[in-house]
Symmetry: C2
Subunit: 168 residues, 2 copies
């Protein structure tokens, strides 16, 4: 099924059942040896780890690399959707996401240093036959509807629950 | 090298060269057929995609699942670091991250609906011999130093650059 047909079907379904618009998603991580973590998201498994330089075993991308991968891929997919919605042709698209992290934050060397990522920059390179104005129109629609750009640029409350299973 | 030894080496290095505290990280995404995206982060490649229900080809987790995977794995790794720093034993740790996404945001069905994720909840299950007070102390240190928790809970400015390569 084409993207437009699938999206039309979702639109029709949600007009009939608006209560189904909100979808719950999730991922589950298990800490393995050292800093290695296996994560399961639906049918997909991946390994996350830290590089050797900070005591990791480098068996996968770090969480900060993974969130930049989420942002880059979300931009790319949102470009795909909105190019279809707006009828703007894309021949090729790459997205580079970069950010700075201050190691003193995570590692607790300096209390005033935020643990998160700063100076985040997304560079989108598009190839295609349309005018610069049309691609700029596409960019504006993408940036208004990209879930990961929203996660980065707005504060999202995170409820935390700690369960202690005890050691049997 | 143990985590504590590696972290001590980083601390010593940064005391000598504080300008090296900030590390630039990145990921690069390439849009493939439909909604499939290949992402490269250092030596690691992964595929991101949307499920069939919204016109995708389901060859990998979605960007929203990936950001929840980033959050869950970042919490797990930060528990590992801080359990070492504080001398609190962990026998096993799992982290479940969940969030809601309103499909009307991404798909542009309703302009007032944010594209991002809401009702985010992290459930950490720890096994080990320590008291509940010690694990609660660990949780407080983790939550003060977890980079992904910081990304979710604080607004991060994202610079966007659109380059048009043209179709040769």
């Amino acid at each position: 099924m084409s993207i437009l047909d699938a999206v039309d079907a979702v639109r029709t379904k949600l007009e009939q059942e608006p209560g189904r618009a909100v979808v719950r998603m999730g991922a589950e991580a298990r800490l393995e040896e050292g800093t290695a973590v296996t994560v399961q998201a639906r049918a997909f498994a991946l390994t996350v780890d830290e590089p050797v330089s900070v005591g990791g075993t480098n068996t996968g991308p770090s969480p900060v690399q993974l969130v930049l991968a989420s942002l880059a891929s979300c931009q790319a997919i949102t470009y795909r959707y909105w190019s279809e919605f707006l009828g703007i042709r894309l021949d090729a698209l790459t997205v580079k996401a970069e950010g700075d992290i201050d190691q003193r934050g995570l590692l607790g060397f300096a209390d005033g240093v935020p643990a998160g990522v700063s100076a985040v920059r997304v560079t989108v390179t598009v190839e295609g036959p349309e005018t610069a104005e049309r691609y700029e129109e596409l960019r504006r629609s993408v940036d208004a509807h990209c879930p990961l750009l929203d996660v980065f640029t707005h504060p999202v409350a995170v409820e935390r629950i700690l369960e202690i299973a005890g050691s049997e």
